[in-house]
Symmetry: D2
Subunit: 98 residues, 4 copies
């Protein structure tokens, strides 16, 4: 499965990029395929692997912020691997073959 | 914490209410405070309790659907209990005291 | 269609219930069918009606907060009305008829 | 502001990549800064510009599917431009300067 997740610390001011960067560091250290864009970090693995990493990130941010808002969107397709790349490639191929 | 979650089976047709009802049944059997509205089911507990229930629901739906889309929004406030009711009551009080 | 939306002011502290209450007030003044729970406000109408109300809320919060995070989930079914109630009733009926 | 959005046609089978590709085509034709990843398409502009494009995509998908699920997450920061790139660069700089 792929999970896109976003963590927002509440009550620590407007600029939250240091905490966000630390979470991206945690995700990359996990060894799971991942990609960070302007709104979400995407991570691919099975449920337990992915949720363990997201929980680590939330726990990390919760040490600095009294309240944490988390949004997760999951695309769960048992048996499908490598979708982090193949989904985007599939779209590009369809667009370029027009 | 409170998690609002929504599970959408993909590839099984337009009407998905039987599977949704079964998930609500799983949530209620968990014993955790919960509430189902037209768009999400809200469930309150700590991270592991809540995620265990959501995973049970996803696994259940994944037996019937080849692909499952899940959206989760979490309000994580360590030390706060009873927020499923108190958040709504707080809004109503503010509105009625105007 | 039904939209569930949640607005989080960033950079104004941990307790945001006054701004949330004001948004609920805006939604209720719209006259569209709506329901507020612990995580989202659900509102039913067509795209332009619903989006106008959500924009009003975001603009209102943006006067008080330098940054605003918004999450919207839409269930778009042309021709279906009254779903705010009927979706929940359908689930309850299925659960009680077991 | 930046909006991350994802559109899921319901009731048309498991593979939805042709419709997704068409939406990405609509987004690119808009001329607004955008980026598509495995889970969301990010698009930057003001509220009306961005919402007009998302509505175009939803209307397009709704011609092919009886039901459409849409998830939108918005980062609204009046006065901030170029955030689609700068947010990611800021994270990378912080990680590389450790």
């Amino acid at each position: 499965m792929i999970a896109a997740f976003s963590i927002t610390p509440i009550g620590v001011g407007e600029s939250v990029s240091e905490l966000v960067a630390e979470c991206v560091g945690i995700v990359r250290a996990s060894g799971l395929p991942n990609e960070t864009n302007a709104m979400f970090t995407n991570i691919e693995g099975d449920w337990d692997e992915v949720m363990r990493v997201i929980k680590q990130c939330v726990d990390h941010v919760a040490m600095a912020a009294p309240r944490v808002s988390v949004v997760v969107k999951i695309d769960h397709r048992p048996g499908v691997r490598g979708a982090l790349r193949s989904k985007v490639e599939s779209v590009e191929q369809r667009l370029s073959s027009r």
